[in-house]
Symmetry: C2
Subunit: 347 residues, 2 copies
């Protein structure tokens, strides 16, 4: 894997105390803005500032296909990946609506869709190959392909950062990618497979059983794989590997990462296995309805902002949580203190 130099946040230093004092001096009962206060503190520490703010926030959806989709582990056929990429580029998907609502620019990264797209101003061409291999019979990626994907994810983040962006909202699209994420979750935590596998985009009970059976076969076929990079290459996806590189690079560059749902959280888990400090730069947007996500968030000591039974991906949860992040920064920078407002202090 790439080497990232990620500094943990100093939660007990002078800046942390100054931020907390600033929060506590606002005209409100102590602690009464709840989770928003923790968000304000975290972003202040990330940006090393008493006046943190988001600059040029960007939404990136990493899209790729999965060879395992041929085995029938999704409620949708594989061509839906490229169709949905088309939908993103045409502005018709949920993520388009939510990005327009919050005036956030959306980019689609072709990490490895099984289709050759015409150039488009919102499409970032980063294809490693036309989808992963079917992991029932071989590793999803060769280790070099996986490393390449990690590096391209990191390179895309560096480019945005150089253009002044300090906040990323990352998501994914790929028919079959909850299966890949579930396998990674199982391999990296040793939790029972059944606790790691959910219905994805909409399997019924029989479909879920079939998905579990197939993933069990995959695990048996690759039982010898345990080294983290090999695990990612064998069981992962091209979009997942790019997300891993993106989170690692963003954390090194002290950018705020708003983490979307189950699959994005698994990518964070992969990155955090090697670089635990990556978690300091993550704001977990929501707890999704996908099985395993709640336990994973607990495992990561993450306290998500929303819990709306979303299970869409596309960075949709991250964008829906974005106004809460903004609210946290705005109260920190704009609210009056007790002194400014002439309001009596607490007894």
């Amino acid at each position: 894997m790439l080497t990232f130099d990620i500094q943990p946040l100093d939660r007990h230093g002078a800046l942390s105390q100054q931020l907390q004092a600033k929060i506590d001096n606002k005209t409100k009962p102590l602690g009464s803005l709840g989770r928003l206060e923790a968000v304000a503190l975290q972003i202040g520490l990330i940006q090393n500032s008493l006046k943190p703010r988001t600059e040029k926030p960007q939404v990136l959806v990493f899209a790729a296909d999965h060879g395992l989709a041929q085995a029938g582990i999704s409620a949708y056929p594989a061509e839906v990946t490229r169709q949905m990429v088309g939908n993103f580029l045409n502005g018709g998907a949920a993520i388009n609506v939510f990005c327009r609502q919050h005036q956030l620019p959306l980019w689609v990264v072709d990490a490895g869709v099984n289709h050759d797209f015409a150039p488009h101003p919102r499409l970032i061409e980063a294809k490693i190959k036309h989808g992963t291999a079917n992991m029932l019979h071989q590793a999803a990626m060769r280790v070099e392909e996986c490393q390449d994907a990690i590096e391209r994810g990191a390179a895309i983040v560096r480019q945005f950062q150089q253009q002044g962006c300090n906040t990323l909202l990352l998501g994914e699209m790929g028919i079959g990618n909850t299966a890949a994420a579930s396998l990674l979750l199982h391999k990296l935590t040793d939790w029972p497979l059944a606790d790691c596998v959910g219905k994805g985009a909409g399997l019924d009970d029989a479909g879920l059983q079939r998905k579990q059976r197939i993933l069990q076969q995959v695990l048996q076929y690759h039982a010898h794989v345990t080294e983290p990079l090999a695990v990612l290459a064998t069981f992962g996806g091209l979009e997942l590997a790019m997300l891993v590189g993106a989170y690692g690079q963003a954390a090194e560059l002290r950018m705020v990462c708003v983490v979307d749902g189950f699959i994005a959280s698994v990518a964070v888990l992969v990155a955090a296995k090697r670089y635990p400090a990556v978690l300091d730069y993550c704001l977990f947007a929501h707890q999704s309805a996908e099985r395993g996500h709640q336990a994973l968030l607990r495992h990561l000591n993450a306290n998500p902002l929303l819990s709306l039974d979303l299970r869409l991906g596309e960075a949709s949860g991250a964008v829906l949580a974005y106004p809460l992040l903004q609210a946290a920064l705005l109260f920190l920078t704009e609210m009056h203190s007790f002194e400014q407002a002439g309001v009596s202090h607490q007894f």
Copy 2:
């Protein structure tokens, strides 16, 4: 109490089916927008429309003082009510910041603050009296005052509706008003008092015990009061009574009500005791950190949008949840269908 003519929503009629079909035809897995789908459906039914939208949404904070505050049931002195009204009018409070963020107009309603304010363009003068009486010794309001407050709350809502508003975000400010709300909750549900009383704006454990002891005395003094309007007059607050009238009138006029935290939810409970259909017009913004709120929401069969440990009031939670309401309406009206987008349907 006033008479409101509130029509329950028809959740099994043709419009409900049409809205559900429209939701299900969007380019996303079935049900994958979770709670937002229920919000879109509810507002469609409220507005009797397949293209629901918020028109001229308004934020109103009802402010009043409480005679019981003299007994020391709050972490703050009573004069903080008028100081915070000044802060709202000067734009320095949390609610100001969040209203600016979402471009929502804020109005402060003087329902009964113990101070005579100079006229101000954002202040609605509706004072019934300079705060309630100390309910340790007499009823908070006479029944006529309480009815007057309900009617003024209703009249304010009618006025906004006549100006084209179809969405209200209502909140409150009043030192001592969690105590009044807790008493109403206890009287209307028969739940043990201890389950209805929390730390309000920031009492410590000793303060909470003192508050509980004082509220027990209040209950003993007025043990004979059981008729609902008399309960509201005896144990309520002027801002609470105005909220009751506002919710009833808004529901009659088929307006969307975004319900803030504990105190606002208790006002909804009071209204729903007589008019259960008022709940059909309510969207519960958040589950607060105040004891009793979670149980109350469950009692009202309400599923709040946020759970951020907020305990501020001021309509702050309602405004923080507002972008989720907008997102629900925007996906319903702007997202492409499978046919429009050329995306393969579910298997």
